[in-house]
Each structure stands twice: as C-alpha cells, then as structure tokens.
Amino acid sequence: MEPIIEMVGVEKDYASGPVVVRALIDAHITVNEGEFVAIVGPSGSGKSTLMNIIGCLDRPSRGTYRLAGYDVGSRSNNARAVLRNRLIGFVFQGFNLLPRTTALENVELPLVYRGQRAKHRRAHARAVLAQVGLADRVDHTPNQLSGGQQQRVAIARALVTDPPLLLADEPTGNLDTRTSDEILALLQRLNRERSLTIVLVTHESDVALCASRVITMRDGHVRSDVRQSSPRDAGEAAARAQSEPEPTSARPGGE
C-alpha cells in the first residue's frame, strides 16, 4: 500500500495578537491508500487545523507534509490550488454548494478549473450525479433539495475529478440520523468499491465508528490512533431505518 498522507513532525502556530497559539503539535500521521480514517476530538483540539493542512488549504509552520508524494509545505498558493483540484475532493458540513446554481453546475465546477470543455464537463457531472442517486435532480438548485440530497451533490462534486483522497468535514453535522447513515453508507461504499481514501472529521462517536481507523485529537496533540477491526455498517443501519414506519424525511438543510 502506498502512503497517500505522510506527516512528519507537522506543527501549526497561529499568531493571536501578541500570543502565539500552537494549534497543532508534532503530528506524525501516515494514511495509506484505501483507508477510511476518522479524526475526532472536541472543538479547539486542532482537528480543523489538521484538516486544513491535509486539504492543502494551509501550510504547516514546521515539519513536512507529503500528499501523494508532493511536498505541500514548499508550494505556492496557486500550486496548492492545483493539488487540491487534482488530488482532493472536499465535502463540508454546510454542504457549501453555490446558491442559485443547479446541481449539475455545482458538480461541473472543479472541471471548469481544469479547463475542460463544457460538453465533456456536463456529461461527466451527470454520470457522477447518477452514481450518488441524483440522476433526476440535476437541474435543481440547492434550495430545492433536501439536506441529504445537497450533501450528495457535494459528494458528487468531490468525486467528479476522480481524486485519490476525499476530505469530509463533519459531513453529517447538518443531517438527521437516518440521512446521516445514508451519507455514511455512501462513503463506506465508495471506500470499499473504489478503494477511495477517506479522511473524515467528526465529533460524533457514531460517525467515527464507521471508519476503519480513528485518530483522536486533544489540545493540538494526536492522543490516540486506533484501528477498528469491525467498523459499524452504516448501510445496514440505513436499511433498518428504511423498514421502520417512522417517517423521518430529511429535514431541509440550507444556508
């Protein structure tokens, strides 16, 4: 197995006025291709900082971080934008879809920045939307979609570039339990069927249980790094919820 994420002694400081806040301290993390990693920890534990660095949105203050072999720390803003576009699919808690823009156009967006032709973009985006079960919703704008559907659009947008790594930041944070399970089942399926590496940040233990490995953060340190031999099968839970009579339709998420 090739390591996709290699962190050696990565630290991140923030200047908060005259005080320097050490948000991330001496992180050594290696994630291999095909892993499903959950990063957990209370707010302020440094998990968002870790996520920003993994996502190439930020650079480490010290230490080296390699993503698929590329040294991120030495790269300019534009070079990291290219890395994000090529290597990472982002899924955010607030879905972060462009408002008043159709599902199809949202999914097309990463391909626009690859300079692909509109015809090719559209066909590809349609196909990926079908894979996440939204073939009949391509022309809906985010406010016409439920929270679960919006998150599926976001996942489709993350997958459309066929990245080796999917970064999900609290992907179920705005969803009810049943919809959360559906989204987690989708992520598990992608991980299983495509060997897609997934790094997921959450503070819910239920969600973390679905991952094959759990990294726990506290006060900027990695506290524990545990492999789970039998992760919770979210698909099963979702199927069970489906058979129950309770009509918990996804509550409409949105901005």
């Binding site: 968002s48 920003n52 996502g55 949105l57 930020d58 803003n77 534009n78 934008a81 290219v82 994000r84 576009n85 090529r86 982002f90 955010f92 972060n96 879809l97 462009l98 008043r100 967006l109 990463p110 626009v112 920045y113 690859r114 300079g115 692909q116 032709r117 509109a118 947008r157 570039t161 930041d169």
Partner: protein, 409 residues
C-alpha cells in the same frame, strides 16, 4: 485559457443578471458619461461641418478690409474712413492675387412698403459686390455692370427683407422707401442663412448702387471714402498671399511705416473660422471634461459595487478556491464581471447618446453628425474603465485566504 475566459464570461453574465437593479444603478455613471462623450463628439463634428458650410456661403476666398483709426490717423477719424474707392482700384491694379474689389458703404435704415416697415442694413456698392460674394438673385435681376457714378434708385433685397416687407407678394418692380427716398426693387437675393460669425442673418439686407447710396442715404460722406473694401482673391489658395499684398499696397498708399500700426484691418474667412473653431473647441473641452468626470465617477461606482459583491460572495470564493480555483481564475472572474458592467454602461450610453442626438437634431435643429470613430472610442473607454476600476476588487477577491473565506476558523 480560452475555455476559462468563456466560462468567466458566462459566470459574470449570470452574476450581473441576478442583480439587475443594482447593475443598472452601478452603470448609470458610465452610461451618462459615455452618452455625454458621444453627444459632444457629434456636436463637435456637426459644428465643424456647419462652419465649413457657412464659411463657403460667405465665399472662402473673400477678404474684408475695414477702416480702423489708429493713433496717427486720430485727426482724420472725425472725417470718416480713410479707405477709398481709389484704394480698391489700386488693389485690383497692383496685386497679382486679387480678382475683384467691391467698395462698400453701409448704414442702418428703415424700409417702408405701404403699411409695413422693417429696419435693416443698407449696403451701397458696385455690382462687383455680388460677384465677390458669389451671390445671385433668385428673382428679378442685378443692376448692370455700369460706370461707378450709376445712381439710379434701384435696390436688390435679401430674402429676409423680402419676406418681412412683402410676405407672399412678388417684390419685383414694387417701390419701397429707404430713409426718405423711394427705390424700385429689381432683384431678390438667394438665401444664405446665418453668418458663420455671431450667427447674424445674412439675408437681412438691402444693396443699392454706391453712387445712389452717397446721394440719397448719407450725403455728407466724404467723396470717394468707403467703409469697407470687399476683396476676392483669385482662388482659395491665394488668400494669404492676397492678404500680404493688400497690407503692403494700403500701407504704401496711406503712408504708413512697416513698423507702425495701420489704419485698417484685414479679415479673412479663415480668421472667422479659427475664432469659431476655438469657441467650439472650448465648449467641447468643457462638455468632454464633464463626460470624463462622469466616467470617472461611474468607474468608482463600479469599484464600489464590486467590493460589495466580493464581500457578499466571500463563501463562494472560498468554495471555488477549495475545489481548485487559482488566484488568476478568481481575478479573471471578478474582472470580467466589472468589464461586463462597464461595457453594458458603455453600450447603453452610446444608444442613449445617439437617441439624444436624433432628438436634438430634430427638435432644436442643432448641427450634429454621428461618426463611428467616437462610438468605438467610447466603448473602448468604458471597457478600460471596467478593467481599471474592477482590478482592485478583483485582486482583493483573488488574494483571499480560502480558510477564512470558507469561514473555517
């Protein structure tokens, strides 16, 4: 690259469509500025054409010599003009560049026909007057090319005088009274319209034979003295040479040294043209600067609204950056949006300007011509304004930190 510019245009067009009212208010400054510039240029080129037309109506090869008393001739001032008919004859004789000279006496006088009366300028001259000014009758005839003591009481009247005194009647053969004496109208001059300078009505005049003027209108005039000499150069090209020769000949005849002021002034049509050109130039400069100020204000308006737009769409910028937009992509996106706004303003202003020109031309009969050059310049200017004033907001957007833009702190 082409692909990304095309997408940037689609994106920007959509962003503009979403905020129609705001876009409209934003482009208003540019719209007014461009409309003003288009109007000014049309006014300028129209005015120039108008001047050319009117100058040629006066005869572009015509020089006018006026008497102007100087210090040396102060004593003679009370005796009237020092220009004489003999001066005129000398000019024709001695200059190589002069075709004809018409001596002119003039006075304001009251004309009476039956119950109507009209006050106008009476000119006394020879039949050369009409040749120098290349002026013909539309009805009747001129008096014949006769000896200079021809003193019949006949009159050739301008088109305006004909209208004022006779209305729809045919003036030919009718008798009018000029001052105290009856004159027979023998001709009506063709219409010339307003003069290029000061806009006087050139058709508001009566021309009578010089000798007749002396006898009947101002009998106390010095014998041989005239108010003006109307000179025609042999062609338009020889006007300046004729001017030099007139100056030399008259100085010699009036015994005026080369280094002292003469007692006459020579006016050419190009003098008049220059004067009027400079008036129009001043007016154009004024209006043009109003237009430019308006364009500047419009540009600031665009910058302002683009800054608001960038602030509002911070999250969108963050998302785009997260999924791979480079700084240049974001810069181009917002720059194109600003340019589109400015260009819409430019197009709107051009249309507005052309409509305003059409209205002004019809209603106020202003001389205006629309030319493609200024329209292209106006559009290009508005595009440049979009780039210049859109750059700062676009750069601000491009330099955002994706983490902060996404609100992940």
């Amino acid at each position: 690259m082409l692909q990304s510019i095309v997408s940037a245009f689609q994106l920007a067009a959509r962003a503009v469509r979403r905020n129609k009212l705001r876009a409209l208010l934003t482009i208003l400054g540019i719209l007014i500025g461009v409309a003003a510039v288009v109007l000014v240029s049309a006014l300028g080129s129209g005015a120039r054409e108008d001047i050319n037309q009117k100058v040629s109506s006066l005869g572009s090869n015509v020089l006018v010599v006026f008497f102007q008393p100087n210090q040396a001739s102060g004593a003679r001032k009370s005796q009237g003009s020092s220009l004489t008919e003999d001066d005129g004859r000398a000019l024709v004789r001695e200059s190589t560049s002069i075709a004809k000279v018409a001596p002119v006496l003039r006075a304001g006088s009251q004309l009476v026909y039956e119950t109507r009366n009209w006050s106008t300028q009476v000119f006394g001259s020879t039949s050369d007057y009409f040749q120098v000014r290349a002026w013909n009758v539309v009805r009747g005839e001129l008096w014949p090319d006769t000896p200079r003591d021809f003193s019949e009481k006949v009159a050739v009247i301008g088109a305006s005088v004909a209208t004022e005194l006779f209305g729809s009647l045919d003036p030919i053969g009718r008798t009018i009274r000029i001052g105290r004496y009856p004159f027979r109208v023998i001709g009506v001059l063709e219409k010339k319209g307003q003069s290029p300078f000061m806009g006087q009505d050139q058709d508001d005049l009566v021309v009578i034979p010089l000798a007749s003027f002396r006898k009947n209108i101002s009998a106390n005039n010095l014998v041989g003295s005239v108010d003006q000499l109307l000179v025609s150069a042999t062609s338009e090209e020889t006007v300046s040479r004729a001017e030099v020769q007139v100056d030399a000949i008259l100085r010699q005849r009036h015994h005026i040294q080369d280094n002292s002021d003469p007692d006459f002034v020579i006016r050419t049509q190009s003098d008049l043209r220059e004067t009027q050109d400079s008036i129009y130039a001043a007016l154009s400069t004024l209006l043009l600067s109003v237009g430019l100020v308006s364009l500047g204000v419009g540009g600031i308006g665009i910058m302002n609204i683009m800054l608001v737009s960038v602030a509002e769409r911070t999250r969108e910028i963050g998302i785009r950056m997260a999924i791979g937009a480079k700084e240049g992509d974001i810069l181009v996106q917002f720059l194109v949006e600003a340019v589109i706004l400015a260009m819409i303003g430019g197009l709107g202003g051009t249309v507005l300007g052309v409509i305003a020109i059409a209205i002004l031309r019809r209603v106020l009969e202003w001389p205006m011509t629309v030319q493609p050059g200024p329209l292209i310049v106006a559009l290009a200017t508005s595009m440049i304004i979009g780039v210049v004033f859109g750059f700062f907001p676009a750069r601000r957007a491009a330099r955002m930190d994706p983490i902060q833009a996404l609100g992940r702190e």
